[in-house]
Amino acid sequence: MKLYKAFLHFIITLVSVFAFLTGWASLAHSLKPIQPADQKVLAGLQPLPPVGISFASQPANNRIQWIPASPKPRSRSVFATRGS
């Protein structure tokens, strides 16, 4: 009986150690999370419009998008296009 118990302890310990090492190895070889250096692939995306903008006039299709304005007083030395 004593011999049987010792054998059982040995088997349980062996299986536990093997399972731990298998888990460790799996994690070590899994895909890594996105690193800052990889984020350049997102650079082509446009910034989201600010929350305050009304979308009432947003076009129904997705080719037209919001473009940030940079309002400033008109410069006399630069040409301007305006409605006629």
Binding site: S57, I64, I67, P71, V78, T81, R82, G83, S84
Partner: protein
């Protein structure tokens, strides 16, 4: 760069050019002469103009100048390309809503209010019923069709005048009330910098564009406005309804290889509005466009982003 301003075609004209001052002065004179002569040819506000004579000839063949033949052919071509949203035969609708005199006269008389002439909309004939024989410069308008070539002629004249000025200059620009055509590049520059005027405040620019040679034109419902009785009117008519267009856009700016194309598509895209504009723009892959809505926000396609100047 040397610059001159003068008034023609009921708007302010700007000529700008780089190069030898004496040559440029000569070029400015030639370009101005050309613009003033073309205005006399294409105006609908003079009984003597070639356009008025053409309109009176409806129902029979008219012997036109090569210039008139060119512009009428272009108008017919753009009418098809814009699925009818550009239609120069809406002159009766223009007059019905009070735009029966030059804008200077309407503005001067605004205090008296333009006369109200409501009534049934005249039947609009399809523009393809108009026949042009370019070899003989002959034009046949069907009976009861009359043309207003104001916008398209303005763009076309701006481009022709720039070509004249380019003979005297290495880089030049003609701006006819916002319809611009550019040849060459200003000295030391890689593009022309063009501000997009805020349609609600002319003292401000909403953004700045960087444009190589070619054309830029803007069409707006915020300009050329008047009162007809108690009703506010503007000059941009939707040919489908015969009434001034109403949607969330105030103006559309188009960048295109030709000034007449930029002018026509700016108008047609503004009439199409936010829900139909992009489908219409696919009929002209060579253009890029930006729209400003009634809250001052700018909308455009990815292609138009490359023309935005970033400081």
């Amino acid at each position: 760069m040397q610059v001159v301003h003068f008034c023609a075609m009921n708007t302010e004209i700007t000529l700008a050019a780089d190069g030898d001052p004496a040559r440029i002065h000569q070029g400015f004179e030639k370009a101005q002469e050309y613009i003033e002569a073309s205005e006399r040819r294409f105006t609908r506000f003079s009984e003597k103009s070639e356009l008025s004579q053409l309109n009176r000839s409806a129902g029979s063949w008219f012997h036109a100048s090569p210039e008139m033949t060119d512009v009428v052919m272009l108008a017919q071509q753009y009418n098809e390309q814009t699925d009818g949203l550009f239609d120069p035969s809406i002159l009766s609708d223009m007059e019905r809503i009070g735009y029966d005199r030059s804008m200077d006269l309407i503005k001067a008389e605004e205090a008296l209010l333009a006369p109200v002439r409501f009534g049934p909309r005249p039947h609009l004939l399809p523009l393809k019923q108009l026949i042009v024989n370019p070899d003989k410069n002959l034009i046949h308008l069907p009976q009861n069709m009359r043309l207003d070539l104001g916008g398209i002629a303005k763009g076309w004249i701006a481009e022709q005048a720039t070509t004249i000025l380019a003979d005297y200059s290495s880089a030049c620009l003609v701006d006819a009330g916002g319809d611009m055509f550019m040849v060459g590049l200003p000295e030391g520059q890689e593009y022309w910098q063009i501000e997009l005027e805020d349609p609600q405040n002319a003292a401000w620019a909403l953004t700045s564009l960087k444009v190589p040679c070619g054309a830029v034109a803007t069409s707006s419902v915020a300009k050329r406005k008047w009162k007809q009785g108690q009703i506010s009117r503007h000059h941009l008519i939707d040919p489908r309804t015969g009434e001034p267009v109403e949607n969330d856009w105030l103006c559309v700016t188009v960048i295109a290889p030709h000034a007449d194309m930029a002018e026509v598509f700016a108008k047609a895209l503004l009439i199409a509005g936010p829900h139909e504009a992009d489908m219409l723009a696919q009929n002209a892959p060579e253009i890029a466009y930006l729209a400003v809505d009634n809250e001052g926000e700018i909308w455009g396609t990815l292609e138009s982003l490359e023309f935005i100047h970033v400081n």
